[in-house]
Amino acid sequence: MTVLTVPPADVAGTPGISRRSRVLRRLRRNPLAVVSFVVLALVAVAALLSPWIAPYSVDQPDFAHTFGPPGTPGHVLGTDDLGRDVLSRIMLGARASLQVALLAVATSLVVGVPLGLAAGYFRAWDAVISRFTDLLLAFPFLIMAVGLAAIRGASLANAAVAIGIAQIPGVIRVVRSDTLRLKSLDFVAAAVVDGASDLWVLSRHVLPNATSVILVQATVAIPAAILGEAVLSFLGLGIQPPAPSLGTMLATAQQFAARAPWAAVLPGLVIMGLALAFNVFGDALRDALDPKGDRR
Protein backbone atom coordinates (compact mmCIF):
# COMPACT_ATOMS: atom_id res chain seq x y z
CA MET A 1 0.00 0.00 0.00
CA THR A 2 1.29 3.38 -0.94
CA VAL A 3 0.60 5.52 2.06
CA LEU A 4 3.69 7.59 2.34
CA THR A 5 6.35 8.78 0.03
CA VAL A 6 9.41 8.60 2.19
CA PRO A 7 12.48 10.48 0.98
CA PRO A 8 14.77 7.84 -0.52
CA ALA A 9 17.71 8.65 1.76
CA ASP A 10 15.76 7.34 4.72
CA VAL A 11 14.73 4.11 3.07
CA ALA A 12 18.24 3.17 2.08
CA GLY A 13 19.38 3.53 5.68
CA THR A 14 22.46 5.40 4.61
CA PRO A 15 25.32 4.83 6.98
CA GLY A 16 26.93 7.78 8.65
CA ILE A 17 26.29 10.52 11.10
CA SER A 18 22.63 11.14 10.28
CA ARG A 19 21.79 7.51 10.96
CA ARG A 20 23.81 7.32 14.16
CA SER A 21 22.18 10.44 15.54
CA ARG A 22 18.76 9.11 14.61
CA VAL A 23 19.45 5.85 16.43
CA LEU A 24 20.65 7.75 19.50
CA ARG A 25 17.61 9.99 19.40
CA ARG A 26 15.30 7.01 19.22
CA LEU A 27 17.10 5.40 22.16
CA ARG A 28 16.87 8.57 24.24
CA ARG A 29 13.17 8.79 23.56
CA ASN A 30 12.55 5.23 24.75
CA PRO A 31 12.22 5.28 28.57
CA LEU A 32 12.95 1.53 28.84
CA ALA A 33 16.19 2.01 26.94
CA VAL A 34 17.25 4.86 29.21
CA VAL A 35 16.40 2.99 32.42
CA SER A 36 18.13 -0.21 31.33
CA PHE A 37 21.16 1.74 30.17
CA VAL A 38 21.44 3.56 33.50
CA VAL A 39 21.11 0.26 35.39
CA LEU A 40 23.81 -1.32 33.24
CA ALA A 41 26.13 1.66 33.68
CA LEU A 42 25.70 1.59 37.47
CA VAL A 43 26.26 -2.17 37.63
CA ALA A 44 29.30 -1.92 35.38
CA VAL A 45 30.86 0.77 37.55
CA ALA A 46 30.02 -1.10 40.78
CA ALA A 47 31.43 -4.32 39.34
CA LEU A 48 34.62 -2.66 38.10
CA LEU A 49 35.25 -0.97 41.42
CA SER A 50 33.98 -3.82 43.60
CA PRO A 51 37.42 -4.97 44.82
CA TRP A 52 37.84 -1.50 46.34
CA ILE A 53 34.33 -0.52 47.32
CA ALA A 54 33.05 -3.86 48.66
CA PRO A 55 32.54 -3.43 52.42
CA TYR A 56 34.31 -6.67 53.39
CA SER A 57 36.93 -8.99 52.03
CA VAL A 58 35.06 -11.71 50.14
CA ASP A 59 36.92 -14.68 51.54
CA GLN A 60 37.17 -13.56 55.14
CA PRO A 61 35.27 -16.16 57.16
CA ASP A 62 33.66 -15.15 60.45
CA PHE A 63 32.48 -18.31 62.17
CA ALA A 64 30.88 -16.33 64.97
CA HIS A 65 28.33 -14.82 62.58
CA THR A 66 27.20 -17.48 60.10
CA PHE A 67 23.80 -17.42 58.37
CA GLY A 68 23.07 -13.82 59.31
CA PRO A 69 19.73 -12.80 57.75
CA PRO A 70 19.52 -9.59 55.67
CA GLY A 71 19.60 -6.57 57.98
CA THR A 72 22.19 -8.03 60.34
CA PRO A 73 24.13 -5.11 61.88
CA GLY A 74 27.23 -4.53 59.76
CA HIS A 75 25.97 -6.85 56.98
CA VAL A 76 23.09 -5.25 55.05
CA LEU A 77 22.37 -8.40 53.10
CA GLY A 78 23.40 -10.83 55.81
CA THR A 79 26.17 -13.42 55.94
CA ASP A 80 26.59 -16.90 54.44
CA ASP A 81 27.42 -20.33 55.82
CA LEU A 82 30.97 -19.25 56.62
CA GLY A 83 29.95 -15.84 57.96
CA ARG A 84 31.15 -13.98 54.84
CA ASP A 85 29.42 -10.74 53.87
CA VAL A 86 26.73 -11.44 51.25
CA LEU A 87 26.72 -7.91 49.78
CA SER A 88 30.45 -8.07 49.08
CA ARG A 89 30.15 -11.51 47.56
CA ILE A 90 27.25 -10.42 45.34
CA MET A 91 29.24 -7.43 44.10
CA LEU A 92 32.24 -9.56 43.21
CA GLY A 93 29.99 -12.30 41.90
CA ALA A 94 28.33 -9.85 39.49
CA ARG A 95 31.78 -8.75 38.40
CA ALA A 96 32.73 -12.37 37.68
CA SER A 97 29.46 -12.85 35.75
CA LEU A 98 30.23 -9.87 33.55
CA GLN A 99 33.80 -11.06 33.07
CA VAL A 100 32.71 -14.48 31.88
CA ALA A 101 29.96 -12.98 29.73
CA LEU A 102 32.29 -10.52 28.01
CA LEU A 103 34.98 -13.17 27.55
CA ALA A 104 32.42 -15.58 26.07
CA VAL A 105 30.92 -13.02 23.72
CA ALA A 106 34.38 -11.82 22.67
CA THR A 107 35.31 -15.43 21.88
CA SER A 108 32.19 -15.94 19.80
CA LEU A 109 32.75 -12.68 17.89
CA VAL A 110 36.45 -13.33 17.22
CA VAL A 111 35.62 -16.69 15.67
CA GLY A 112 32.12 -16.01 14.36
CA VAL A 113 32.52 -12.67 12.59
CA PRO A 114 35.31 -13.72 10.17
CA LEU A 115 33.55 -17.01 9.46
CA GLY A 116 30.23 -15.23 8.89
CA LEU A 117 31.89 -12.73 6.52
CA ALA A 118 33.60 -15.53 4.63
CA ALA A 119 30.43 -17.61 4.41
CA GLY A 120 28.43 -14.69 3.06
CA TYR A 121 31.10 -13.35 0.72
CA PHE A 122 32.76 -16.43 -0.78
CA ARG A 123 30.31 -18.94 -2.18
CA ALA A 124 32.82 -21.76 -1.96
CA TRP A 125 33.24 -21.34 1.78
CA ASP A 126 29.56 -21.26 2.54
CA ALA A 127 28.97 -25.02 2.49
CA VAL A 128 32.03 -25.80 4.58
CA ILE A 129 31.18 -23.17 7.16
CA SER A 130 27.59 -24.30 7.44
CA ARG A 131 28.74 -27.87 8.16
CA PHE A 132 30.97 -26.41 10.86
CA THR A 133 27.98 -24.52 12.26
CA ASP A 134 25.90 -27.71 12.26
CA LEU A 135 28.66 -29.46 14.12
CA LEU A 136 28.84 -26.77 16.80
CA LEU A 137 25.07 -26.74 17.18
CA ALA A 138 25.06 -30.49 17.83
CA PHE A 139 26.82 -29.90 21.16
CA PRO A 140 24.55 -27.94 23.54
CA PHE A 141 26.54 -25.54 25.67
CA LEU A 142 26.13 -27.53 28.85
CA ILE A 143 27.30 -30.72 27.16
CA MET A 144 30.20 -28.74 25.66
CA ALA A 145 31.04 -27.49 29.16
CA VAL A 146 30.80 -31.03 30.50
CA GLY A 147 33.20 -32.24 27.83
CA LEU A 148 35.65 -29.38 28.41
CA ALA A 149 35.46 -29.81 32.17
CA ALA A 150 36.13 -33.52 31.76
CA ILE A 151 39.19 -32.87 29.63
CA ARG A 152 40.67 -29.78 31.26
CA GLY A 153 38.96 -29.47 34.64
CA ALA A 154 36.32 -26.90 35.60
CA SER A 155 37.30 -23.23 35.65
CA LEU A 156 36.10 -19.72 34.83
CA ALA A 157 37.99 -19.81 31.53
CA ASN A 158 36.45 -23.13 30.54
CA ALA A 159 32.96 -21.85 31.29
CA ALA A 160 33.61 -18.79 29.14
CA VAL A 161 35.01 -20.88 26.29
CA ALA A 162 32.09 -23.35 26.41
CA ILE A 163 29.54 -20.52 26.36
CA GLY A 164 31.47 -18.65 23.68
CA ILE A 165 31.71 -21.69 21.40
CA ALA A 166 27.99 -22.30 21.81
CA GLN A 167 27.33 -18.73 20.68
CA ILE A 168 29.44 -18.92 17.53
CA PRO A 169 26.68 -20.33 15.27
CA GLY A 170 24.39 -17.40 16.09
CA VAL A 171 27.10 -14.89 15.21
CA ILE A 172 27.94 -16.68 11.97
CA ARG A 173 24.28 -16.70 10.99
CA VAL A 174 23.59 -12.99 11.43
CA VAL A 175 26.91 -11.85 9.96
CA ARG A 176 26.51 -14.18 7.00
CA SER A 177 23.02 -12.97 6.13
CA ASP A 178 24.00 -9.33 6.52
CA THR A 179 27.05 -9.90 4.32
CA LEU A 180 24.82 -11.43 1.65
CA ARG A 181 22.56 -8.40 1.86
CA LEU A 182 25.43 -5.90 1.70
CA LYS A 183 27.15 -7.75 -1.12
CA SER A 184 24.13 -7.15 -3.31
CA LEU A 185 24.09 -3.40 -2.67
CA ASP A 186 25.35 -1.04 -5.33
CA PHE A 187 28.19 0.55 -3.44
CA VAL A 188 29.77 -2.80 -2.65
CA ALA A 189 29.28 -4.02 -6.20
CA ALA A 190 30.84 -0.77 -7.43
CA ALA A 191 33.89 -1.32 -5.24
CA VAL A 192 34.25 -4.83 -6.64
CA VAL A 193 33.99 -3.53 -10.20
CA ASP A 194 36.63 -0.92 -9.40
CA GLY A 195 38.99 -3.80 -8.71
CA ALA A 196 39.19 -3.56 -4.93
CA SER A 197 40.57 -6.68 -3.30
CA ASP A 198 38.19 -8.96 -1.41
CA LEU A 199 39.89 -8.14 1.87
CA TRP A 200 39.53 -4.42 1.18
CA VAL A 201 35.85 -4.73 0.29
CA LEU A 202 35.16 -6.86 3.36
CA SER A 203 37.01 -4.64 5.81
CA ARG A 204 36.10 -1.26 4.32
CA HIS A 205 32.58 -1.80 3.02
CA VAL A 206 30.97 -4.90 4.46
CA LEU A 207 32.21 -5.06 8.05
CA PRO A 208 31.55 -1.39 8.96
CA ASN A 209 27.99 -1.70 7.70
CA ALA A 210 27.45 -5.00 9.48
CA THR A 211 28.38 -3.51 12.86
CA SER A 212 24.79 -2.79 13.82
CA VAL A 213 23.65 -6.41 13.49
CA ILE A 214 26.81 -7.53 15.30
CA LEU A 215 26.07 -5.04 18.07
CA VAL A 216 22.52 -6.30 18.47
CA GLN A 217 23.70 -9.91 18.43
CA ALA A 218 26.26 -9.10 21.14
CA THR A 219 23.68 -7.41 23.36
CA VAL A 220 21.43 -10.46 23.28
CA ALA A 221 24.39 -12.84 23.68
CA ILE A 222 25.60 -11.17 26.90
CA PRO A 223 22.51 -11.96 29.02
CA ALA A 224 22.48 -15.51 27.65
CA ALA A 225 26.14 -15.83 28.69
CA ILE A 226 25.37 -14.43 32.16
CA LEU A 227 22.69 -17.08 32.62
CA GLY A 228 25.03 -19.73 31.22
CA GLU A 229 27.77 -18.79 33.67
CA ALA A 230 25.31 -18.98 36.56
CA VAL A 231 24.20 -22.45 35.51
CA LEU A 232 27.74 -23.76 35.08
CA SER A 233 28.94 -22.33 38.40
CA PHE A 234 25.84 -23.67 40.12
CA LEU A 235 26.65 -27.14 38.83
CA GLY A 236 30.31 -26.75 39.83
CA LEU A 237 31.51 -26.63 36.22
CA GLY A 238 32.41 -22.94 36.21
CA ILE A 239 33.99 -20.61 38.71
CA GLN A 240 35.45 -22.64 41.58
CA PRO A 241 34.88 -21.79 45.26
CA PRO A 242 36.04 -19.94 47.24
CA ALA A 243 36.04 -17.37 44.38
CA PRO A 244 32.70 -15.55 44.61
CA SER A 245 30.11 -16.28 41.93
CA LEU A 246 26.37 -15.84 41.89
CA GLY A 247 25.91 -19.41 40.68
CA THR A 248 27.96 -20.99 43.46
CA MET A 249 26.18 -18.80 46.01
CA LEU A 250 22.93 -20.38 44.85
CA ALA A 251 24.44 -23.86 45.06
CA THR A 252 25.46 -23.14 48.67
CA ALA A 253 22.01 -21.74 49.38
CA GLN A 254 20.49 -24.97 48.09
CA GLN A 255 22.64 -26.98 50.53
CA PHE A 256 21.59 -24.87 53.49
CA ALA A 257 18.06 -24.10 52.32
CA ALA A 258 16.54 -25.39 55.56
CA ARG A 259 18.60 -23.00 57.71
CA ALA A 260 18.70 -19.93 55.46
CA PRO A 261 16.04 -19.99 52.74
CA TRP A 262 16.49 -16.25 52.04
CA ALA A 263 20.01 -16.85 50.78
CA ALA A 264 18.57 -18.34 47.60
CA VAL A 265 16.67 -15.16 46.71
CA LEU A 266 19.20 -12.37 46.29
CA PRO A 267 21.84 -13.87 44.00
CA GLY A 268 19.07 -15.06 41.69
CA LEU A 269 17.47 -11.62 41.62
CA VAL A 270 20.81 -10.06 40.74
CA ILE A 271 21.37 -12.49 37.87
CA MET A 272 17.86 -11.82 36.62
CA GLY A 273 18.22 -8.06 36.95
CA LEU A 274 21.48 -8.07 35.01
CA ALA A 275 20.12 -10.28 32.25
CA LEU A 276 16.89 -8.30 32.10
CA ALA A 277 18.70 -4.97 31.77
CA PHE A 278 20.77 -6.32 28.86
CA ASN A 279 17.74 -7.88 27.18
CA VAL A 280 15.64 -4.73 27.49
CA PHE A 281 18.47 -2.59 26.18
CA GLY A 282 19.10 -5.07 23.36
CA ASP A 283 15.44 -4.92 22.32
CA ALA A 284 15.47 -1.13 22.38
CA LEU A 285 18.69 -1.05 20.37
CA ARG A 286 17.31 -3.39 17.75
CA ASP A 287 14.15 -1.31 17.40
CA ALA A 288 16.19 1.89 17.15
CA LEU A 289 18.40 0.39 14.43
CA ASP A 290 15.46 -0.98 12.47
CA PRO A 291 15.12 1.28 9.42
CA LYS A 292 11.40 0.55 9.33
CA GLY A 293 11.24 1.79 12.90
CA ASP A 294 7.55 1.17 13.45
CA ARG A 295 7.85 -2.02 15.44
CA ARG A 296 8.30 0.08 18.56
Partner: protein
Amino acid sequence: MTTVERADTASSAVGTPVLAVRDLSVSFTTEGGTVSAVDRVSLELAPGEIVGMVGESGCGKSVTAMSIAGLLPDSARISGSVRLEGTELVGTREPVLRRVRGKEIAYIFQEPMTSLNPVLTVGRQIGEVLRVHERMSRRAARARAVELLSLVGIPSAGKRVDNYPHQLSGGMRQRVMIAMAVACGPKVLVADEPTTALDVTVQAGILQVLRDLRDRLGTAILIITHDLGVIADIADRVVVMYAGRVVERAPVTDLFAHPHHRYTAGLLSASPTPGVHAGTQRLQEIPGLVPVLSTQPDACTFADRCPAADATCRESAPPLAAVGAAVTHHLAACWHPCPAPRTESPEATP
Protein backbone atom coordinates in the same frame (compact mmCIF):
# COMPACT_ATOMS: atom_id res chain seq x y z
CA MET B 1 -17.52 23.43 -2.89
CA THR B 2 -20.81 24.25 -4.54
CA THR B 3 -19.23 23.86 -7.93
CA VAL B 4 -18.17 20.35 -7.02
CA GLU B 5 -21.66 19.39 -5.87
CA ARG B 6 -23.24 20.64 -9.03
CA ALA B 7 -20.69 18.92 -11.16
CA ASP B 8 -21.32 15.58 -9.43
CA THR B 9 -25.04 15.79 -9.96
CA ALA B 10 -24.40 16.39 -13.61
CA SER B 11 -22.21 13.35 -14.08
CA SER B 12 -24.61 11.00 -12.30
CA ALA B 13 -26.96 11.41 -15.20
CA VAL B 14 -25.35 8.19 -16.49
CA GLY B 15 -27.66 6.21 -14.15
CA THR B 16 -28.13 5.47 -10.46
CA PRO B 17 -24.62 4.84 -9.17
CA VAL B 18 -23.95 1.54 -7.46
CA LEU B 19 -21.10 3.13 -5.56
CA ALA B 20 -20.92 6.81 -4.65
CA VAL B 21 -17.90 8.28 -2.91
CA ARG B 22 -18.32 11.87 -1.63
CA ASP B 23 -15.68 14.12 -0.12
CA LEU B 24 -13.68 11.20 1.18
CA SER B 25 -10.66 12.33 3.23
CA VAL B 26 -8.12 10.04 4.86
CA SER B 27 -5.22 10.93 7.10
CA PHE B 28 -2.79 8.77 9.04
CA THR B 29 -1.17 9.20 12.42
CA THR B 30 2.47 8.15 12.13
CA GLU B 31 5.68 8.39 14.12
CA GLY B 32 6.42 11.69 12.37
CA GLY B 33 2.96 13.23 12.89
CA THR B 34 -0.21 13.35 10.82
CA VAL B 35 -0.06 12.69 7.09
CA SER B 36 -2.92 13.56 4.81
CA ALA B 37 -3.28 10.87 2.15
CA VAL B 38 -6.63 11.58 0.52
CA ASP B 39 -8.40 14.96 0.36
CA ARG B 40 -12.10 15.30 -0.45
CA VAL B 41 -12.20 12.72 -3.21
CA SER B 42 -15.51 12.13 -4.97
CA LEU B 43 -16.31 9.55 -7.61
CA GLU B 44 -19.15 7.36 -8.77
CA LEU B 45 -19.55 3.99 -10.39
CA ALA B 46 -22.61 3.08 -12.42
CA PRO B 47 -23.55 -0.60 -12.70
CA GLY B 48 -21.40 -2.27 -15.33
CA GLU B 49 -19.14 0.72 -15.64
CA ILE B 50 -15.35 0.53 -15.60
CA VAL B 51 -13.70 3.55 -14.04
CA GLY B 52 -9.96 3.93 -14.11
CA MET B 53 -8.10 5.79 -11.39
CA VAL B 54 -4.65 6.95 -12.39
CA GLY B 55 -1.77 8.72 -10.70
CA GLU B 56 1.81 8.33 -9.51
CA SER B 57 2.84 6.25 -6.47
CA GLY B 58 1.78 7.95 -3.25
CA CYS B 59 -0.99 10.01 -4.82
CA GLY B 60 -3.60 8.31 -2.63
CA LYS B 61 -5.24 5.99 -5.14
CA SER B 62 -4.64 2.80 -3.16
CA VAL B 63 -5.70 4.46 0.08
CA THR B 64 -8.93 5.55 -1.60
CA ALA B 65 -9.49 2.01 -2.84
CA MET B 66 -8.85 0.42 0.54
CA SER B 67 -11.05 2.89 2.39
CA ILE B 68 -14.09 2.03 0.29
CA ALA B 69 -14.69 -1.22 2.21
CA GLY B 70 -13.06 0.00 5.42
CA LEU B 71 -9.82 -1.96 4.93
CA LEU B 72 -7.44 0.69 6.22
CA PRO B 73 -5.52 0.15 9.47
CA ASP B 74 -6.78 1.67 12.72
CA SER B 75 -4.30 4.54 12.40
CA ALA B 76 -6.37 5.97 9.53
CA ARG B 77 -8.83 8.84 10.13
CA ILE B 78 -11.59 8.76 7.58
CA SER B 79 -14.27 11.35 6.85
CA GLY B 80 -16.79 11.83 4.07
CA SER B 81 -19.17 9.32 2.65
CA VAL B 82 -19.06 6.01 0.76
CA ARG B 83 -22.49 4.75 -0.27
CA LEU B 84 -23.15 1.32 -1.71
CA GLU B 85 -26.58 1.45 -3.39
CA GLY B 86 -27.48 4.21 -0.99
CA THR B 87 -26.20 2.48 2.18
CA GLU B 88 -23.55 4.45 4.05
CA LEU B 89 -20.36 2.49 4.72
CA VAL B 90 -18.13 5.08 6.42
CA GLY B 91 -18.39 4.68 10.18
CA THR B 92 -20.35 1.44 9.85
CA ARG B 93 -19.68 -1.27 12.40
CA GLU B 94 -17.12 -3.93 11.52
CA PRO B 95 -19.55 -6.94 11.45
CA VAL B 96 -21.74 -5.13 8.92
CA LEU B 97 -18.71 -4.23 6.78
CA ARG B 98 -17.60 -7.86 6.86
CA ARG B 99 -20.84 -8.87 5.16
CA VAL B 100 -20.11 -6.31 2.44
CA ARG B 101 -16.49 -7.29 1.87
CA GLY B 102 -16.03 -10.15 -0.54
CA LYS B 103 -19.78 -10.27 -1.20
CA GLU B 104 -20.83 -6.79 -2.39
CA ILE B 105 -17.42 -5.19 -2.83
CA ALA B 106 -14.52 -7.44 -3.79
CA TYR B 107 -10.83 -6.70 -4.25
CA ILE B 108 -7.99 -7.75 -6.49
CA PHE B 109 -4.48 -6.72 -5.51
CA GLN B 110 -1.24 -6.03 -7.28
CA GLU B 111 0.97 -8.93 -6.27
CA PRO B 112 -0.78 -12.19 -7.10
CA MET B 113 2.13 -14.11 -5.53
CA THR B 114 1.95 -12.59 -2.08
CA SER B 115 -1.77 -11.84 -2.08
CA LEU B 116 -2.65 -15.53 -2.02
CA ASN B 117 -1.99 -17.62 1.06
CA PRO B 118 1.00 -19.83 0.16
CA VAL B 119 0.00 -22.71 2.41
CA LEU B 120 -3.61 -23.22 1.28
CA THR B 121 -4.78 -24.66 -2.04
CA VAL B 122 -6.39 -22.17 -4.40
CA GLY B 123 -9.63 -24.16 -4.24
CA ARG B 124 -9.75 -23.76 -0.50
CA GLN B 125 -9.09 -20.03 -0.75
CA ILE B 126 -11.86 -19.52 -3.29
CA GLY B 127 -14.19 -21.83 -1.39
CA GLU B 128 -13.58 -19.87 1.79
CA VAL B 129 -15.46 -16.83 0.44
CA LEU B 130 -18.40 -19.00 -0.56
CA ARG B 131 -18.48 -20.76 2.77
CA VAL B 132 -18.49 -17.48 4.64
CA HIS B 133 -20.95 -15.48 2.56
CA GLU B 134 -23.11 -18.16 0.92
CA ARG B 135 -22.92 -20.71 3.76
CA MET B 136 -22.00 -23.39 1.23
CA SER B 137 -20.84 -26.84 2.28
CA ARG B 138 -17.21 -27.70 1.74
CA ARG B 139 -18.12 -29.95 -1.18
CA ALA B 140 -20.40 -27.40 -2.87
CA ALA B 141 -17.82 -24.65 -2.41
CA ARG B 142 -15.17 -26.78 -4.06
CA ALA B 143 -17.44 -27.58 -7.02
CA ARG B 144 -18.24 -23.88 -7.42
CA ALA B 145 -14.53 -23.03 -7.17
CA VAL B 146 -13.87 -25.29 -10.16
CA GLU B 147 -16.60 -23.48 -12.13
CA LEU B 148 -15.16 -20.10 -11.19
CA LEU B 149 -11.68 -21.14 -12.24
CA SER B 150 -12.93 -22.11 -15.70
CA LEU B 151 -14.92 -18.88 -15.83
CA VAL B 152 -11.73 -16.86 -15.50
CA GLY B 153 -10.08 -18.97 -18.17
CA ILE B 154 -7.95 -21.43 -16.26
CA PRO B 155 -7.53 -24.65 -18.25
CA SER B 156 -8.14 -28.01 -16.50
CA ALA B 157 -9.70 -26.23 -13.56
CA GLY B 158 -10.61 -29.55 -11.94
CA LYS B 159 -6.90 -30.20 -11.40
CA ARG B 160 -5.78 -26.66 -10.71
CA VAL B 161 -8.25 -26.34 -7.84
CA ASP B 162 -5.97 -28.49 -5.70
CA ASN B 163 -2.81 -26.57 -6.58
CA TYR B 164 -0.94 -24.28 -4.25
CA PRO B 165 -0.27 -20.73 -5.43
CA HIS B 166 3.44 -21.35 -6.05
CA GLN B 167 2.53 -24.04 -8.57
CA LEU B 168 0.79 -21.47 -10.79
CA SER B 169 2.21 -18.77 -13.05
CA GLY B 170 1.75 -15.09 -12.19
CA GLY B 171 -1.07 -14.66 -14.69
CA MET B 172 -2.86 -17.75 -13.42
CA ARG B 173 -2.53 -16.55 -9.85
CA GLN B 174 -4.12 -13.25 -10.80
CA ARG B 175 -6.94 -15.19 -12.47
CA VAL B 176 -7.36 -17.09 -9.21
CA MET B 177 -7.58 -13.77 -7.38
CA ILE B 178 -10.25 -12.65 -9.82
CA ALA B 179 -12.17 -15.92 -9.43
CA MET B 180 -12.04 -15.42 -5.68
CA ALA B 181 -13.23 -11.83 -6.02
CA VAL B 182 -16.21 -12.60 -8.24
CA ALA B 183 -17.20 -15.77 -6.38
CA CYS B 184 -20.21 -14.14 -4.71
CA GLY B 185 -21.17 -11.96 -7.69
CA PRO B 186 -20.12 -8.62 -6.18
CA LYS B 187 -21.68 -5.36 -7.33
CA VAL B 188 -18.34 -3.59 -7.22
CA LEU B 189 -14.91 -4.94 -8.00
CA VAL B 190 -11.92 -2.87 -6.91
CA ALA B 191 -8.80 -3.85 -8.82
CA ASP B 192 -5.68 -2.24 -7.35
CA GLU B 193 -2.90 -2.38 -9.97
CA PRO B 194 -4.09 -5.80 -11.15
CA THR B 195 -1.63 -6.06 -14.03
CA THR B 196 1.40 -4.14 -12.78
CA ALA B 197 3.33 -7.21 -11.64
CA LEU B 198 2.60 -9.15 -14.81
CA ASP B 199 4.18 -9.50 -18.25
CA VAL B 200 2.69 -7.40 -21.04
CA THR B 201 1.27 -10.41 -22.86
CA VAL B 202 -0.33 -11.69 -19.67
CA GLN B 203 -1.75 -8.22 -18.88
CA ALA B 204 -3.99 -8.21 -21.94
CA GLY B 205 -5.47 -11.56 -20.94
CA ILE B 206 -6.28 -10.34 -17.44
CA LEU B 207 -7.94 -7.18 -18.76
CA GLN B 208 -9.96 -9.33 -21.15
CA VAL B 209 -11.18 -11.44 -18.22
CA LEU B 210 -12.23 -8.29 -16.35
CA ARG B 211 -14.11 -6.98 -19.38
CA ASP B 212 -15.85 -10.34 -19.83
CA LEU B 213 -16.97 -10.34 -16.22
CA ARG B 214 -18.37 -6.85 -16.54
CA ASP B 215 -20.30 -7.91 -19.62
CA ARG B 216 -21.53 -11.16 -18.13
CA LEU B 217 -22.17 -10.22 -14.51
CA GLY B 218 -22.72 -6.48 -14.82
CA THR B 219 -20.09 -5.81 -12.14
CA ALA B 220 -18.92 -2.21 -11.80
CA ILE B 221 -15.12 -2.11 -11.76
CA LEU B 222 -12.82 0.50 -10.25
CA ILE B 223 -9.40 -0.14 -11.71
CA ILE B 224 -6.43 1.56 -10.14
CA THR B 225 -3.24 1.86 -12.11
CA HIS B 226 -0.37 4.09 -13.04
CA ASP B 227 -0.33 2.57 -16.50
CA LEU B 228 -2.14 4.74 -19.04
CA GLY B 229 -2.15 1.84 -21.47
CA VAL B 230 -4.39 -0.09 -19.12
CA ILE B 231 -6.72 2.90 -18.79
CA ALA B 232 -6.91 3.34 -22.54
CA ASP B 233 -7.57 -0.35 -22.98
CA ILE B 234 -10.35 -0.92 -20.50
CA ALA B 235 -11.80 2.16 -18.78
CA ASP B 236 -15.02 3.99 -19.66
CA ARG B 237 -14.20 6.97 -17.48
CA VAL B 238 -11.01 8.18 -15.83
CA VAL B 239 -10.22 9.84 -12.51
CA VAL B 240 -6.79 11.45 -12.29
CA MET B 241 -5.37 11.86 -8.79
CA TYR B 242 -2.51 14.00 -7.62
CA ALA B 243 -1.26 14.36 -4.03
CA GLY B 244 -4.49 13.06 -2.53
CA ARG B 245 -6.87 15.10 -4.67
CA VAL B 246 -8.87 14.38 -7.80
CA VAL B 247 -7.47 16.81 -10.36
CA GLU B 248 -9.41 15.70 -13.40
CA ARG B 249 -12.33 13.44 -14.20
CA ALA B 250 -13.64 12.66 -17.67
CA PRO B 251 -14.80 10.02 -20.10
CA VAL B 252 -11.73 8.22 -21.37
CA THR B 253 -11.86 9.49 -24.96
CA ASP B 254 -12.29 13.12 -23.83
CA LEU B 255 -9.43 12.90 -21.43
CA PHE B 256 -7.04 11.48 -23.98
CA ALA B 257 -8.24 13.92 -26.65
CA HIS B 258 -8.12 17.02 -24.51
CA PRO B 259 -6.63 16.92 -21.03
CA HIS B 260 -7.45 20.15 -19.17
CA HIS B 261 -5.31 19.82 -16.09
CA ARG B 262 -1.61 20.51 -16.57
CA TYR B 263 -0.72 17.39 -14.61
CA THR B 264 -2.86 15.17 -16.83
CA ALA B 265 -1.36 16.82 -19.87
CA GLY B 266 2.07 16.01 -18.50
CA LEU B 267 1.10 12.40 -17.98
CA LEU B 268 -0.28 12.12 -21.47
CA SER B 269 2.52 13.80 -23.38
CA ALA B 270 3.54 10.43 -24.73
CA SER B 271 0.19 8.75 -24.50
CA PRO B 272 -1.42 5.89 -26.37
CA THR B 273 -4.60 6.30 -28.37
CA PRO B 274 -7.76 5.23 -26.55
CA GLY B 275 -9.09 1.85 -27.54
CA VAL B 276 -5.72 0.63 -28.74
CA HIS B 277 -3.67 -1.23 -26.19
CA ALA B 278 -0.29 0.35 -26.15
CA GLY B 279 1.59 -2.12 -24.05
CA THR B 280 3.72 -0.83 -21.22
CA GLN B 281 2.97 2.83 -21.78
CA ARG B 282 3.91 4.27 -18.40
CA LEU B 283 3.46 7.77 -17.07
CA GLN B 284 5.92 10.18 -18.51
CA GLU B 285 8.42 11.59 -16.08
CA ILE B 286 7.39 14.91 -14.63
CA PRO B 287 10.20 16.64 -12.75
CA GLY B 288 9.83 16.67 -8.96
CA LEU B 289 8.22 14.37 -6.41
CA VAL B 290 4.67 13.96 -5.15
CA PRO B 291 4.76 15.98 -1.93
CA VAL B 292 4.13 14.37 1.46
CA LEU B 293 1.61 16.57 3.20
CA SER B 294 0.76 16.81 6.84
CA THR B 295 -2.24 18.99 6.06
CA GLN B 296 -3.83 19.83 2.76
CA PRO B 297 -2.85 23.40 1.87
CA ASP B 298 -5.24 25.94 0.46
CA ALA B 299 -3.35 25.97 -2.79
CA CYS B 300 -2.92 23.86 -5.86
CA THR B 301 -0.68 20.96 -4.74
CA PHE B 302 0.74 20.67 -8.24
CA ALA B 303 1.86 24.32 -8.29
CA ASP B 304 5.49 23.50 -7.50
CA ARG B 305 5.83 21.24 -10.51
CA CYS B 306 3.51 23.10 -12.87
CA PRO B 307 4.84 25.18 -15.77
CA ALA B 308 1.77 27.46 -15.72
CA ALA B 309 1.61 28.11 -11.97
CA ASP B 310 1.18 31.70 -10.76
CA ALA B 311 0.25 33.49 -7.51
CA THR B 312 -3.39 32.35 -7.63
CA CYS B 313 -2.33 28.72 -7.76
CA ARG B 314 -0.28 29.16 -4.57
CA GLU B 315 -3.00 31.04 -2.71
CA SER B 316 -6.12 28.99 -3.21
CA ALA B 317 -7.02 25.47 -4.20
CA PRO B 318 -8.81 25.24 -7.54
CA PRO B 319 -12.22 23.52 -7.31
CA LEU B 320 -13.09 20.52 -9.47
CA ALA B 321 -15.31 22.23 -12.03
CA ALA B 322 -16.87 21.48 -15.38
CA VAL B 323 -14.68 22.31 -18.35
CA GLY B 324 -15.22 22.04 -22.05
CA ALA B 325 -18.56 21.04 -23.49
CA ALA B 326 -21.14 20.43 -20.74
CA VAL B 327 -22.42 17.19 -22.27
CA THR B 328 -19.09 15.45 -21.87
CA HIS B 329 -19.06 15.67 -18.01
CA HIS B 330 -15.46 16.68 -18.13
CA LEU B 331 -14.18 18.14 -14.81
CA ALA B 332 -10.80 19.55 -13.90
CA ALA B 333 -9.33 21.29 -10.85
CA CYS B 334 -7.06 23.87 -12.44
CA TRP B 335 -6.89 27.66 -12.46
CA HIS B 336 -5.19 27.66 -15.84
CA PRO B 337 -6.51 24.69 -17.82
CA CYS B 338 -4.71 23.75 -21.02
CA PRO B 339 -6.20 26.10 -23.57
CA ALA B 340 -6.60 24.16 -26.78
CA PRO B 341 -7.05 20.52 -27.69
CA ARG B 342 -3.61 19.16 -27.70
CA THR B 343 -1.71 19.60 -30.94
CA GLU B 344 -3.44 18.70 -34.18
CA SER B 345 -2.91 15.00 -34.45
CA PRO B 346 -2.77 13.57 -37.99
CA GLU B 347 -6.30 12.12 -37.85
CA ALA B 348 -7.72 15.45 -36.62
CA THR B 349 -6.63 17.27 -39.77
CA PRO B 350 -9.41 17.33 -42.31
